[in-house]
Symmetry: C2
Subunit: 225 residues, 2 copies
């Protein structure tokens, strides 16, 4: 069987397709199936059918259901990180970068709801090694957001006045809020990616602004607890 | 075997203990074991040993590893919701209620890191029916936070000026941020529950305040995207 050339299994329509193309079709079908039906319920039969190939070919290319699922997680994690990074123009001010990054994030999760379901639900609800794949992606995004917040603080004050810990906390809060809002926006037909980004940007920017101005909420009107 | 009375299985020390007490010891041991070692790696042997009872007694009381895990999730979800609700004094202003609720949340997750690991990681990473148990708890907390934000908006303006969708979005963002910060605070020895609550309160309150004053962040200084 020639390297990178179709091996003739499957229906006529799909013949003579390069291996990379065929594999992408299988992954596309797998992401849809895993995302909508869940990892356990998804069958290799329906994935093969949706991809328009035979089940043996799926096993030949991707080895096992576990390996296919891992390949889906890796591809979609990479796609999401790339979408966010390339959505950010480094020439913008830091708040503009944060805004464009959030828009890119919510646009991507809205356009790829099955992929988001794979990353946020399926990959995290079926143990290792899947959960580890997605937590690496999350750490990468947290690091990226942390750098943006640092930059924003520097821009606004000429120096990083925020403590490391405040910046790390804000980044964690922002990423957690974004994950939560992506699920909520996808579950609601009426919420656009731009609205989800705006909700979070208002939330984040106001909080960050107050922190930088030294204006913190304090429980001053409350009885001591 | 008498109802509610020890059946004599296990070592001498644990004899004549009411069933409820014995079951609680088993659940305590299971939460620690599942939380630290993970659902898959945890063995019924080590849970029984940690609880100071025989393995057959654990099976007699809790039936199976799955049922024991489900019982842990239910108990810990209930405990967390109760801690948050009872931490909130309804006579406080809405921001005071939010603050006290957040402090109760982060105090509880800091004091029960194994329980939080069971709820946030283990229950979500091992499929159904476990994931469903914890998403019911999450919906209850989102509803509670949504009501508090409504009240805060009403208090500040005498009327609910925020759109339903803005309120729902803020609640989703706040809960997601809190989940993210709880994991971060537990992973770092130096972050106290009060600091985690303050980080989020600053973030949330400033964002909510701006929204209520009609001050939204806007990409006015940015090139159009």
């Amino acid at each position: 069987m020639g390297e990178g050339v179709d091996d003739g299994v499957g229906d006529g329509k799909a013949r003579r397709m390069p291996r990379a193309v065929r594999e992408r079709q299988m992954l596309d079908a797998a992401v849809v199936t895993f995302g909508r039906r869940g990892y356990r319920a998804a069958s290799m039969d329906e994935i093969a059918e949706l991809a328009g190939v035979s089940k043996p070919l799926v096993y030949l290319y991707l080895n096992s259901k576990e390996d296919l699922f891992t390949a889906c997680i890796r591809r979609e994690a990479q796609a999401l990180v790339t979408a966010v990074r390339s959505g950010v123009d480094p020439d913008l001010t830091a708040d503009g970068q944060l805004w464009s990054g959030l828009r890119a994030f919510f646009t991507h999760t809205a356009e790829h709801p099955d992929a988001w379901s794979v990353l946020h639900h399926q990959a995290r609800t079926h143990g290792e090694p899947f959960a580890r794949e997605v937590s690496q992606m999350r750490e990468e995004i947290v690091a990226f957001v942390t750098a943006l917040i640092h930059e924003a603080a520097q821009e606004a004050h000429g120096a990083t006045e925020l403590a490391e810990r405040d910046v790390a906390g804000l980044a964690q809060a922002l990423v957690g809020a974004a994950e939560s809002l992506a699920g909520w926006a996808n579950a609601s037909d009426s919420v656009t990616a731009k609205e989800a980004a705006a909700t979070l940007m208002n939330f984040a920017w106001a909080g960050l602004g107050n922190l930088m101005r030294g204006e913190r909420w304090s429980p001053r009107h409350q009885p001591a607890h």
